[in-house]
Amino acid sequence: MRQYMKIILLVVVLTMVAAACGSDTTDTTEATTDTTAPTATTEAPTTTPTTEPPTETTEPAGPTTIIIGTTDTVSSLDAADAYATADWELIKAFNEPLLRFQPGSNSVLEPGIASLPVASDDGLSWEVTLRDGLVFGDGLELTVEMAVEQLNRLMNVDLQASAPNQVGNTLAIPYVESIEAVGDDTIRFNLLGPAGFFPQILAGAPYTITHPDYFALDEMNLLPASPIYGLGPWIITENTAAEQTVLEPNPYYNGSYPAKVDRIIVQRFASPSAMADAVREGEIDVAWRILGAEAADELKTVDGLTVETIPQAPIRYLIVNHADGFVTSDPLVRQALAAAIDRDELSDVVFGGAVTPLYSQVPPGFLGANEAFEDAYQAPNLDLAVSLLEEAGYSESNKLQIDLGYPPEHYGVTTADGVLLVAQQWEATGLIDVNEISQEWSTYVSDCTNGVAFDVCVLGWFFDFPDAENYLQPFIEGDGLGTMVLCPNESCGDATTTGIDPLLGSLLIDQRAETDLDARAAILEQLQDVYADAVVTIPLWLEPEFIIYRDGIVGDSSLPNPQTLNIGPDFEFLYSVLEVTN
């Protein structure tokens, strides 16, 4: 018996030692000879290809793999449902949208599978023409009727009601009256009202044309079985929700951005620290979303790694409750709060200077963006804040009591630290007592946006489509995500608000109908000034986002921002621009 035990023990030890001593880390930048086809998790639809794949333009440059790490998860790959940034990134990889933003650009539109749109004279309809020879990754040819049918999934009220993310209810149904085919290759979008920013909406993932065998007209298919075919440069050959997504070139793709490598693997991580370690040790080639300033800073010292900050990013801001009954319903109080904030101190103390102070709800770079809060308050301006508070009737013996809500974890600890520093800045006036209320995200977000629990609360925002409209409209119309600024209306419940400049609502409507860019920019600037005067929200800072990549991974030098692998202010990461140089 003892001999057997010894043998077993020896085998176990030898196995462990052999395993530990070897290295299985595959150098992904070198030739990969394995051609084993990745295994689909279940059977995929079997549409018979109707077209043979072309052979000349889609030949990859070399047998290479690039591994992209992320802390994002995939919630939905159905274009008629998906809303998250990570989902849109994958959808646009296997399904080219009608239009796209030029990779790396400041939201410059260019044709996707369709031409740039042309508006009717009254601005109520837009037409796009499909590119010739569009074929899905499995060989199925696209017809304009098929395209319209698939796009109408966004307009299907019953289908949208069953969708977890309801993107159609946000980016289609409020704007579009109908979608129809015109001729053999043209799609017409009839709008409910003029919307100068509609081309930007068309460049979103919801307006990709999905494969009819995977995405039925009357049913959502959030995570189809792989392989998943579309009209984009890639095919999703394998997708395990918790671990990885594997993409390989689409042999039928005939667009401007064919794949340059053999394979992209998107590897998911549970935490930013695990992803940071993986890129440091060379287990992944690229780390993209969401890493945090501290980890990015540490990686700057690692040889062979490039750390770049994306030039534009999500914003952090304070929702200010305007509803009667809250202390912030007094415009003098709101203006005093805006005047007392020191954004430079927030950037320096909390983020070590890594974030950009934000002086308007519309970030720099968007049409009409200005610095309305800086112009109005020259913050930090404690003298102005004190005089406004005294005018509102507050004193050292009768201090303003503010309930300030924040989530301790959802936006990371730095946002929580930033909010607490804002509280200190307000209290430095000597006339304000802040009651900081920390709440777990799932309760916090509804308490904040319902406008019933806090005077002021912090939130983050990232655009649904890159236009100033999307940074202003959500905080003004309806319940304003808790600002209640234009109440009463059907979204406000019992809340009422008084004394708001009526220009706030009318300028928002005016800029939508304006097709001349200069005139629209002027309206937007005026709107931001009125917004700052009313202190609808208080913008704080632009949250930085980072991309880290190993030497030898390059973007397209003929396009803007190759140093960020052509990820521009719109945050779009087009995998097709990636190459391996060694």
Binding site: T15, M16, P38, T65, A161, S162, A242, E243, V246, I265
Partner: protein, 365 residues
Amino acid sequence: MHPLLIVFLVFGIPAGFALGWVFLRGSESLRRYILTRIALTLPMVLILISVVFFVLRVMPGDVVSSTLGPKASEETRQNIMEALGLDDPLIVQYFRFLGDVVTLDLGDSFIGARRPIVDELGERLPATLELIIPAAIIALGSGLLFGTYAAIRRKKPVDYSLRLYSVIIYSMPIFWLGLLLRLVFSVWLDWTPIAGRIDVVTNTTLERTTNLLFVDSILSGNWAALKSVLRHMILPAATLGLVLSGVFVRLTRINVIETLQEDYVLAARARGIRERIVTYSYALKNAMIPVVTVIGLQVAILLAGAVLTETVFNWPGMGRYLIERISARDFQAVQSTVAVFALFVALISLAVDVIYSVLDPRVKY
């Protein structure tokens, strides 16, 4: 065949045969005891999942607000609550959930792609098993080895060292030990991978059947994958196993010391049997009885430890899944996961009691 079913068959068939063998060969009282334990397991699981169901419902927050954030309008919220059946009376939701459990359906997740929970568990449970089984082997193996060695070297420096080790290792936070081991062996020495279950590229070559990557790589003859799986397994399993080994070291040591003072050990020595045989064959076997009892209790701790270990090592198992779903208020996933955990612990507890009766024939039920 569904991976979850395969996993249950892989472990259930041998366990079923063993239980059947013990049942048939055991005494009448043992048979009665086994039947009673099985009968009691069901209400125990029912009570547990019922408590979890109602506690989750009284917790503040809801799944729609949590997942959609500020962009969820009231209309959207209502639509989704209705689609998920969360606007039904609580009692209706409760019996619907019980129905799902009884039919082994478990329903669909509330968040993400709303996949069937059995599919999600089919990916996650094998990962957790692949972590806790080697961890249990490390914990038990090192615990028995070190404990016995400390006992036979009682009051020697090595005894004091091992006792100190057991206290320190057991009181060490798992996540901290994991980060420490990762820093030393992965970052500084570069002996083991940083995180994950398998090398990213190798993973694409592995044909999955059970989602137990160790088993799948053997079944498919993919030795590169097997090597990668073993390399990835070492640190997480060692982290979890070493922390739990502390209690086994102390327990084994004290029981071996006591057993070595028994008359039959003295008699064995008097007969000239070699000391090693006396210690490892005579004393350790009897000292194992209380250790086996503790194993059952440690399984629950093992699962709890897996939550932290999986987070540190980016291990896509049940622990991480549970944490994510609690944060998102995905009631359906949380209560289903707890039900699986509860069933797992109950079955291990039953197995331990049965083994106990085999190890110690004096035990009467």
